[in-house]
Structures are given as structure tokens and as C-alpha cells.
Symmetry: C2
Subunit: 488 residues, 2 copies
């Protein structure tokens, strides 16, 4: 049932009409908590439908659903706290140059948000996922473009959200849902859509980003597109615990059949004995990994073609060959290559592009400068990781320097851990230089709410007319900056 | 001396090489204060050069230079305080879904910022203006595209900034300066330019915005393009003090020969006696205004053609005719039109477009609904203002509703005051829905620094390797969110 242009228009208008019902923060947080409770209550039906459509398995899906509810509740807390309103109040100051009048600033919702949901997270990055939760928390109704890999689940989840909305007097139009590629294009072009969130491929995301920028009135497009997620293993770390690192890497790169945007896709491993042990432990563990089912046929085709093309490059070896398994499955695998092949532009640049699925590229470096040369050639990433030895972690050696060198590459720098498993927390940042994301924002963690707000300042407004958020006496107890001083 | 592509490249590379020298916040704030002191010390030469190039007069230019220094010092204070780093620290929490590891987030500078300076503010929105001050405060070197209306002043100011930089061991390349239209295009396309700030016309700004979005790696483009700045005068306000309002409006719209981006360009005035008195006071005051010189010939031509085209529309009157004055000057003027002509799409839509220079359009409305219909048709604005009666300001009547109705239109809502005079203050917001600005950010006030930063989270990083900003013991005394709790 692909939505027509008229159906997209109807959904956007209905969402727009629901804006007023989200104006009250107390209503918003109650709605978010009811939505979480509604998902909990419908768990069995939701997980069954999700598994039928995605084959991700009930364990993973139950966990993902719990994460999704946790996220909705976390945003409810954020709405109640109100720090995201960024209240700033300045009393008049005639001594300033130029003089300062009475000025009071807070943030207001942008309007209807278009959410493009992901294939690989049917709950956490889809209809009730982080984009929707943060947009509703900000006071923005949403229209979701469902992912074609789980249309029935999308409808079910939307129904749960709408029921929760209705329970708080919010029109059901606050959650729009449309299906179809063309509908997605219509949506980004709709004059009443004020911003968009997207999780998916570089190709699809860039096309929508371009459409958002080309509108008569351009809108913010927060897309999370793709990431190689490089890992650097120092020589000392490999010497200290090469086997442990190899086994850990195998677990991270094959988790969820490698279908995570933070899958480590390029690992810089030193040559020598420690590195050899690492690669052996990695290949042993990956060899033991059962073949898995990818989310859809297109992904499987892309994976099989992608690993074949990479494996055919000169000096690329496959200690465990990734590729097509039986019965629609794929087998996990590892490719190795001398790091020097990646240090300069050439055919091997393909290895610096994300290959979605259970494969990682191990680049062996002879000296640090070679590893640094490869890192300097990478496009933006969601994460960059390093495995350090105990001494390096304790501050002996180049640990701090390495952290500084990885910082320009990514939005999250991981030490002695793996990038998979993206925690929902205030300090989380799930974003990074393009193409990791199309903006400087995050789609996971509390600050994701910032994407759907804009500041408004009131000048010389009489106290009687001010919204409660901006009154001197602070009746809502909001954190704010008052005459230059931060107040909690 | 238009810069060649190679000269642009040289400037960007030199700026990039200066990044490290800006890494220390104490050095940055000291540099900003020295820059302000340097501008003060060079005041006479700077004002003389500026006046020769812009004809804005020594009084206005001296005031603008003071504002520019004030702004540099305000950003130095912001750098010292460090709240802009947005530090968030989460200790591990195994009870969360999924579990939360040790996560610590702060903000890092984006890289080289391209600054496109304005014609109408040769100091405050040019080489040492708000974009430059906020970028340097964030830790970003800048390359400024000088405005062709004041090339010599641009060189002089750059020299002052570079001398200040050198005094703190910062390479002079931290302030690049290029001239020429083509150089501006080269600059926005340069792979090492990480973001851009712009103040100017819708046409020029949109072209650069499009170029920024079309890059292989798109970059944030913070442009302040154009604004009509509507003013609503309620019937009660006009009845209470029509004359005062008319005189105040005349002062605001002719200030600086109408060459402010926040000039009130459309005023909704009630029909009836109060409104008539307002218009009479306005026309009397504008008639008494001396002819003035616009910043350049192109602007004068656009103004003369623009007011003529508007005045020729049906039912448009000119109680004081704006247009060409003698000796390269222009005369201020007022156009009036029945508001109903603006309530629906048609030829009169031209009156809803900004006309840069000393002219305002007074639309007379018979009833509130008519005024509301006009407001609903406006594109985004920097400001929206309302003149209320004393009773309305005290909370009797529709005052609060009117504030809520004006909020979607603009980034700053002004009550019983005029939008001209943009204070530099923490609560200021100088931005608004497109085309007022191309992003949700501000180019004036403390939060302008946010444009040049991106967050980075560190996961599981050993204390020994953490930057001081992210350590538990908070050696720098930064405001932060620590395990969910805001700390000052």
C-alpha cells in the first residue's frame, strides 16, 4: 500500500494539526511514558511480527524493544527536567555596548518532523525509535516513512503510539505513517515538514539530504548514513593480549550478522607475533560463527558482491572467506591486506568503504606511521577505537596522543572496548563527520532532542504576557542562565 | 587584488595549520582580549578608513567599533567559563537497557571557518565581527571573504587581529583574508573548510548555501539572508499612542539609512483615527529626514527600482515618496496599502519582500482577521514586533495570544519597542525561519559559538588519558552534567 502524494499530504496535515496538543510538557512526558508502557504490553505480538519480517530472532528483538521503551522513558525524564529549553534571561543593562534590553530566550519545537526508519533496528530506529521519541519530546509531531523490510510491524507500532496519544487527548495524527519510496520523496518536499531524521545508506540518505537542501525553504536533515568504524591495535596491546582482542573483534563484527552501523569494518593490526595471534584468534572464532540471514535480499546481494570484489584485489587474503551461505544465509569472514596498500589512493580504496554485513578488513602495519597514514585517509566515522596495552592505558606511552589523533575521525572514541552496543545515555554521541552523519547532531542519547528545536528570544515583553518558562520567579524550576549566571 | 584559486588554497592551508595554536582555551581568550584592545588602539585610523569606504559617518562607525570590541571580550569570557563545551559525564550503569559504559562527552572545534562579511556592518559583521569572534572562541581559525565595499578596512582589521595573534604565539594564518567573488566560491568549495558564516542577501546567501550542500562532504552553512521584520500595531495601541508609535517607527526604519537587516519593513496599522494619527506622525517625521547615502551604487539602484515598482502597484499610495535624492543620495519614504491586498497571493506579494533601504510599507487593516491573514503569509523573519496598549501589556486582552502568534514567524519577538539595535547578550537570538537564516542558529549573542563545534564522546577511556575537561575531579571547574545531574 504505497502512499500517494495526496495521502502523504493528508498525513502531514494531520500531524501539523496535532502540534497544539503537544505544547504542554507534562502532557508530552505522560504520553511518552504511556507509549513505552503500550509497547511493553504488546511485547509478544510485536516481537512475533518483527521476527517474521526481519528474522532477527526473538532474543535480539526483545532486547531491542526494551531499549526502545527505555529510550521513550528517558526522553520523558528529559521533558520533565526542561534543561533542553535552554532558558536564558538577561535583564536590561544600559552600560553594555550597545545597551541590552530585557531579553529572554528559550527553545520552541520546529514543527512536523519526517522520520525515515531503518531496516536493521525495526524498533529502536523505526516508528517508535530515537528520532520519533526525541521529536515528540521536543513537541514535534512526526510522519514516519516505514522501512519496506517491516511494514506490518510499522503499522502495529504506530497503532500502539496512537492509542497512547489518544489516552492523553492528543490526536492520532501526531504519528503519521506512510509506505513507499515515492512517498518518502514527497514527504521531504512537503512544505509543512520542518525537519527530517534518517538512518540508512549513504546513497539513500544523500539523495534525501540533497532534496531537503534544494527545497524553496531548506530544512535541517539529520541523517546517519554510513561508517567504517576503524580500530587501531597498538603493538604493545597485540603483544599483551592478541588472542583476547582477536576473539573480541570476532564477537563485535559478527554481532547481529554484522548489520550494525557501528560494526568495526577496518582493523589496523601490527605485523609480528602479537598481531599474528590476534588474526589467528579472530579467524578461529569467525570460522566457528554460524551462517546468518541478512535483513533482505538486496542486502545479501550487496554483501556477496561487495566481499567478492574486495577479495579479488591484489594482496588481499581471506583467512575465512565471507560470502553466500546456503538457504539465503551468508557466512562471516575476514579479509587481510598489507596496510601500505591503503596508505595511498588506488584500487584498494574500496576497502575503506563500508561493507554492510559480517566482514571486517584487517590491515597489517609494519610501523606506526603506516597506520597513521591509513587513518588520515578515512572519511568521517561514527566511532574510532583503539586497543591499548595496560601500560599505555595507564598513561605510559602514546595513549593520550592516540586519543587526540582519533578524535577528528569520529563522534565516539572507544578505548579497550568494541563500538557495537550503543548505550542510551546523556553523554552518548551517535554521529560524526560526514558521511557518518549529515549534521553535527546525534540520533542516540539525550542531546538528540536538540535537533528539533529552534531558539526564540522575547525582547521587552511584559511579565504578564511571558510564557511561564521565561518568568523571573521561575515557577517551573527550570535550569537556566540568569543574568549571565548558570542556575540549576 | 582578487585572490586566485591558489591564493585561497594557501590561506585555507595556513588557517588549518594554526588550529593547534588555538587548542588552549586560556590562549584563545587572551587572544580575543588582545584583539579587542588592538582595535581600540587603532580606532582613529580604522574609523577614518571605514568612513572613506562606507560613508556611514564617524559617530555610527565609532559606536560599531565599540560593539565589535565588546563582542570579542564577551566571547573571551565565554571561553573562560567553558559552559559551551557542554560536558556530560556518565559513569557505567549495568542496570540500563542496554548497559551504559563510562561515557564522557564534550565539544571540539569543527576546523577552518569561512566568514563572508557584510556590507552594512564594516566592523561588527565583518573581519573582526561576530562570526570571526565566535569561531575563534570555539577554537576555529577563519578565512574571511572581504566585502568589496570596504577592502582597505578589511586589510587593516586583519592586520590588527594578526598582530594580536602573534602576541600569543598564534600563527598569523589564523586570520585569512581573501577578496573577490570567485574567491568566495573557491572558499566554500575548499575541502579543508569545515563550516561557513554569511551575512548578506538572499540571492548571494542561497547560492553559497547551495554550494555548501552540494560539496562531496557537505558543511554547515550559517547564513543570515533577509527579513521583512513585520510590526503589528493593535487597535488599542494606535488609539492610545498613535503619534508616539508613528514617530518611533520613523526613527527605526530610517536609522542608518534603512540599511539594517532588522529594519521594520511591513507595519500592520488599524484603520480609523488612531491609525491615521500614527501614519501622519510617521509621514511627518520621515518627510523631515535628510536624504542619505547608501553603501554602494548597486544598492542605490536596487532601492530606487524597488520602491518604484512597489509604488506603481494598484492602491499603493506614497504619503512620502521614497526614491533617488540628489548627489548619489536616496530619500526615505513610506508606502501604504490596504491590508486586504496582501491577504491573498497576487501582484502585491512584492510588498512582502524585503526592500533594503529607508522605506517601510504600512498595511491598513479593518479587522484583526485581516492582519492575521497577512502575517500568516509571511516568509521567515529575524524579528516580529507588536505595539500593545498599556492594558494589553498588563495582561488584559489578547497580548499573550499575539505573542504566541508572532513566535512562529521569527527568532526574536519584540514588544513595545523597535527591532533595530541588536544587543550582544547571552539571551540574544539573531536568526529565524528561512530566509532569515539558513539554520536554527544565531549570529549575535553568546550562543553563536555553538555553530562551530561538534560533540565527541569518549567511551571507557582511562582517566590517565582523558583531556582535563572530562575528568571526574573537574580540575577546570567547568559547568557540566555529571551522572545526569547538572553541576555549576
Amino acid at each position: 500500500m504505497e502512499a500517494t502524494a495526496q495521502e502523504v499530504d493528508t498525513a502531514v496535515r494531520a500531524a501539523r494539526a496535532a502540534r497544539g496538543a503537544l505544547a504542554d510538557r507534562a502532557v508530552r512526558s505522560a504520553f511518552l511514558r504511556s507509549a513505552a508502557a503500550g509497547l511493553d504490553a504488546a511485547r509478544d505480538a510485536l516481537v512475533e511480527t518483527a521476527d517474521a519480517e526481519t528474522a532477527l530472532g526473538p532474543v535480539r528483538l526483545t532486547g531491542e524493544l526494551a531499549r526502545t521503551g527505555y529510550q521513550l522513558r528517558a526522553f520523558a525524564d528529559i521533558v520533565d527536567e526542561g534543561a533542553f529549553l535552554d532558558v536564558v534571561i538577561d535583564h536590561p543593562d544600559d552600560t553594555a555596548t550597545p545597551p541590552v534590553p530585557d531579553l529572554r530566550r528559550h527553545k520552541v519545537p520546529l514543527g512536523v518532523v519526517a522520520v525515515y526508519s531503518a531496516s536493521n533496528f525495526p524498533f529502536a530506529f523505526s516508528v517508535a525509535g530515537g528520532d520519533t521519541a526525541s521529536a515528540l519530546a521536543a513537541g514535534c509531531p512526526v510522519v514516519v516513512k516505514a522501512h519496506p523490510d517491516h511494514p506490518a510491524l510499522s503499522e502495529l507500532v504506530a497503532k500502539v503510539l496512537r492509542r497512547a496519544a489518544a489516552g492523553h487527548g492528543i490526536p492520532e495524527g501526531v504519528i503519521g505513517l506512510v509506505h513507499g519510496f515515492e512517498a518518502g520523496i514527497e514527504l521531504i518536499r512537503h512544505p509543512s515538514v520542518a525537519a527530517a531524521g534518517f538512518t540508512g545508506s549513504v546513497r539513500g540518505g544523500r539523495a534525501l539530504f540533497d532534496a531537503a537542501a534544494a527545497r524553496p525553504v531548506p530544512i535541517p536533515f539529520h541523517g546517519e548514513l554510513g561508517s567504517l568504524n576503524p580500530v587501531l591495535v597498538t603493538e604493545a596491546a597485540a603483544a599483551e593480549r592478541g588472542e583476547t582482542i582477536g576473539a573480541g573483534l570476532a564477537g563485535s563484527m559478527t554481532l547481529g550478522v554484522g548489520q550494525f552501523c557501528v560494526k568495526p569494518g577496518l582493523v589496523l593490526v601490527p605485523s609480528g607475533a602479537g598481531g599474528d595471534q590476534l588474526v589467528k584468534a579472530l579467524t578461529d572464532a569467525v570460522s566457528d560463527t554460524e551462517a546468518g540471514v541478512l535483513l533482505d535480499h538486496r542486502m545479501r546481494d550487496n554483501f556477496v558482491a561487495g566481499v567478492r570484489e574486495r577479495a579479488e584485489l591484489a594482496e588481499v587474503d581471506s583467512p575465512v572467506t565471507p560470502g553466500a551461505g546456503g538457504e539465503h544465509t551468508v557466512s562471516a569472514g575476514v579479509l587481510t591486506v598489507p596496510a601500505e596498500k591503503l596508505a595511498e589512493e588506488g584500487a584498494h580504496d574500496l576497502l575503506l568503504e563500508e561493507c554492510f554485513g559480517p566482514v571486517t578488513v584487517v590491515a597489517r602495519y609494519a610501523e606506526e606511521a603506516e597506520a597513521a597514514a591509513v587513518l588520515s585517509r578515512l572519511p568521517g566515522n561514527l566511532t574510532a577505537s583503539v586497543q591499548l596495552s595496560s601500560e599505555e592505558a595507564a598513561g605510559q606511552g602514546r595513549g593520550a596522543e592516540i586519543l587526540a589523533e582519533l578524535t577528528p575521525l569520529a563522534g565516539r572514541v572507544v578505548v579497550n572496548a568494541w563500538p557495537t552496543g550503543v548505550a542510551v545515555a546523556p553523554a552518548q554521541h551517535h554521529g560524526g563527520p560526514y558521511p557518518a552523519t549529515t549534521s553535527t547532531s546525534t540520533s542516540v542519547g539525550g542531546t538528540a532532542i536538540e535537533r528539533w528545536l529552534r531558539p526564540v528570544a522575547y525582547q521587552n515583553a511584559p511579565a504578564a504576557l511571558l510564557p511561564a518558562e521565561l518568568r523571573d520567579e521561575n515557577p517551573l524550576g527550570l535550569p537556566r542562565r540568569f543574568n549571565g549566571v548558570l542556575e540549576r
